[in-house]
Assembly symmetry: C2
Homo-oligomer: 210 residues x 2
């Protein structure tokens, strides 16, 4: 079982047309490589539903997914292999290194979907909206750049609202029960659908650079 | 029935030791008149549970309630007549005039509890977190002054998070389900208890002057 899984992953990772093995080589050139529209980057793409479906829904924009977990990343790449996207790429790496892959001001929209809440106090620094990440986002985003977050996790969402509003970003839009109304602009991943089926609220916020 | 109600109100309004009929005369002197602690002002006190119970719980602070609706204000004053508070006053007037009653920097904490959501687009200006109110709050609050809001209304809360964060205030604390954990610092009014009994989330935010 273990072997089979490993082989499957190895094949997907070696053959996927979406994977970028040396992302730093594309720094400053992502839009040229993927199309001239806005550059959207998702950190923590998981099985890639949001990344893939958004790339399909918005072919004029460029979509880069980032996922450090090889197991789920290979699922994302496998699913994407069944469609033919010319505006999407994928990085299988820890987003801690994101500043090596993009130039300052290069990214237009950063997406954080159902990020790991890291509930323990000792792990707060790992949250994707911790100060040390937010500062990086600010540098990498264009002047009118935005961060869009969705979460099912109350504590992470509350934490993010406070940190993001402190210095670098201004809250542009917020929903404390996003799916209580319909929103054309946004796709629903399988992961999100599970929470919706349980009747749990989905939180969403959009921040713009201050 | 109408007469009886009117008489009852008239008696309460005429005899309450809490009511301040000419609040502008106390401008700049509220703390001296009510005690030397922090000055807390609640806009839209309704039947006054929060105002009264907080004044009891925090006798070192001064508590001023404001309610323009004479019917509910007289209930608030009647309830308060059953206790003996030396640190509380009440204004039966439209809070639009708040700048005539307090000096700039005089208020330490402004409380907005379950304010009218004014859901219609035509009435947005009446929301107590509309720009033109928020600007007044900023002027009236002390340097470290805070606004504390609780609401059961999703749209009003979302609106408030966006407006408050735009310019004058920074979000210090936020809860998208405040009563899912216990909070010693805060009393629960009858009004709030009804929403809690229905299992509806209570939203709460604390902002500090930027």
């Amino acid at each position: 079982m273990r072997m089979r899984k490993k082989n499957y992953q190895e094949v997907v990772l070696a053959t996927s047309k979406y994977i970028v093995n040396e992302p730093s080589k594309l720094a400053g050139q992502w839009k040229a490589a993927l199309g001239s529209g806005e550059l959207h980057v998702e950190i923590g793409s998981g099985k890639g539903d949001y990344w893939r479906l958004m790339a399909q829904q918005y072919p004029q924009a460029a979509w880069v997914g980032i996922e450090k977990n090889v197991n789920v990343a290979s699922v994302a790449l496998k699913k994407a292999s069944e469609v033919d996207l010319t505006n999407a790429k994928f990085i299988v790496w820890d987003a801690n290194l994101i500043q090596e892959w993009f130039m300052p001001g290069e990214i237009d929209v950063l997406h954080l979907n159902f990020s790991d809440p890291w509930p323990k106090k000792a792990h707060v620094k790992r949250r994707l909206t911790h100060h040390h990440f937010v500062e990086k986002y600010y540098q990498l985003l264009s002047d009118q750049g935005r961060v869009i977050m969705k979460s099912d996790n109350r504590e992470l969402f509350e934490f993010s609202l406070v940190v993001m509003g402190q210095q670098w970003f201004v809250l542009e839009e917020v929903f404390v029960d996003f799916r209580s109304s319909t929103h054309d602009e946004d796709v629903i991943s399988e992961y999100e659908q599970r929470f919706m089926d349980l009747g749990q609220p989905i939180y969403r916020a959009v921040w713009r650079k201050r």
